[in-house]
């Protein structure tokens, strides 16, 4: 029974479609091969995990590099919106702004990405530095979000609508409740997301690229602040953005050359 559970856990590395088509058959072979010893079972389970990750990687590569970069921009928009909402909730700005941002984020999470992107652009004009008489440095920090929003309008992610994704609003609200000053906590949240992106890097570089786009924005935002307040964040953001971009460029480049496992 335990052996079967180990096998089933290893099978989780495969995409759901493969699990559905061949999961039981693969589990059968794993149990056959792992009958000799515990070591054989561990070796077979490890091979299954690697096989599953390669399968996922191959599935991701089939989308093509342009689609992957567009998806990364769309994911960056969702992260931007999450951080913006946390920031709005913590700095207790206008209630209407919080409601509008929550609505836009909800649309993006469910899968109405084009509507969310248009809403995001409108919100930037209404509440962001675009709507005020801002200096150039203030405008520079919205360049990346605007670029990502435009990509999202033109090429939203191809995914089914899923209201369950609204559950992501819970950690956003919980985080906003835990931190009384948003600016202090945002890099930590982004660092957690970036760690997730790095863990997925072997089979899917999109989250890592999305995080690097958000880090770049934080870098631009910090650059506009007077030292020493922005200096620590500037350093962290610069290192993180550079590191993530460099690391995620590798798998993306390899996906161009090796589209089959």
């Amino acid at each position: 029974m335990i052996r079967e559970r180990i096998g089933q856990a290893a099978l989780r590395a495969y995409p759901p479609a493969v699990r559905q088509a061949r999961g039981l058959e693969m589990l059968g072979m794993l149990l056959d091969a792992g009958e000799q010893s515990n070591l054989a079972l561990v070796r077979e389970s490890g091979s299954l995990v690697l096989g599953g990750l390669r399968e996922r990687r191959s599935l991701t590569a089939r989308a093509g590099r342009r689609r992957l970069v567009a998806d990364a921009c769309c994911q960056a928009v969702i992260i931007f919106l999450m951080l913006w909402l946390v920031s709005a909730l913590n700095t207790q700005q206008l209630l209407v702004q919080e409601v509008v941002l929550a609505g836009i984020l909800a649309c993006a999470l469910i899968g109405y990405e084009r509507i969310a992107a248009l809403g995001g652009l409108a919100a930037l004009i209404a509440f962001g530095p675009l709507g005020q008489h801002s200096q150039l440095v203030e405008l520079a920090r919205v360049l990346v979000p605007i670029a990502c929003l435009l990509v999202m309008v033109r090429a939203p992610q191809r995914r089914p609508r899923d209201p369950r994704q609204l559950l992501w609003l819970l950690p956003v609200c919980a985080f906003a409740a835990l931190h009384d000053h948003a600016y202090v906590g945002l890099p930590e949240v982004l660092a957690v997301m970036s760690a997730g992106g790095l863990l997925r890097l072997f089979h899917d570089p999109r989250l890592a690229i999305a995080c690097s786009l958000v880090w770049t924005t934080l870098l631009l935002a910090a650059a506009g602040r007077p030292a020493p307040a922005g200096l620590g964040l500037l350093d962290v953001a610069a290192v993180a953005a550079g590191l993530l971009l460099t690391i995620s460029a590798g798998p993306l480049w390899m996906m161009r050359h090796r589209t089959t496992p």
Binding site: L27, R54, P261
Partner: protein
């Protein structure tokens, strides 16, 4: 198209008739003299590729000893590819061993 040893022996395992996954791994190990050990992840990646290139066909799943199995059969295209690869390896082996014999004779004399 050249086949790597795991693919070559996995396809060769099916020459005598259809086999299920674990039986393919065992047969490939026998045929290769223990040099090729196909793990579950590797074998199914190979089978998936062979299926997409129509080198093998998959049968219907069935239960045996409480475990789900599915037999795989070599197609004529798979057999032809295997024959080409065997001929290529034979030619390469002959060329090299011929040269080795010739030079070892020369060294001895």
């Amino acid at each position: 198209m050249e086949l790597r040893p795991p693919s070559y022996f996995a396809l060769a395992a099916l020459i005598d008739g259809p086999l299920h996954g674990y039986a393919i791994a065992r047969r490939a190990r026998e045929l290769s003299g223990g040099r090729v050990r196909l793990s579950t992840g590797t074998l199914y990646a190979l089978l998936e590729r062979a299926l997409s290139e129509s080198l093998v066909i998959a049968g219907e799943p069935y239960l045996q000893g409480g475990r789900q199995r599915r037999d795989y059969t070599l197609t004529p295209a798979g057999r032809a590819l295997l024959a080409d690869e065997a001929a290529r390896l034979e030619h390469a082996a002959k060329a090299v061993s011929g040269r080795l014999r010739a030079t070892s004779d020369a060294v001895l004399t």
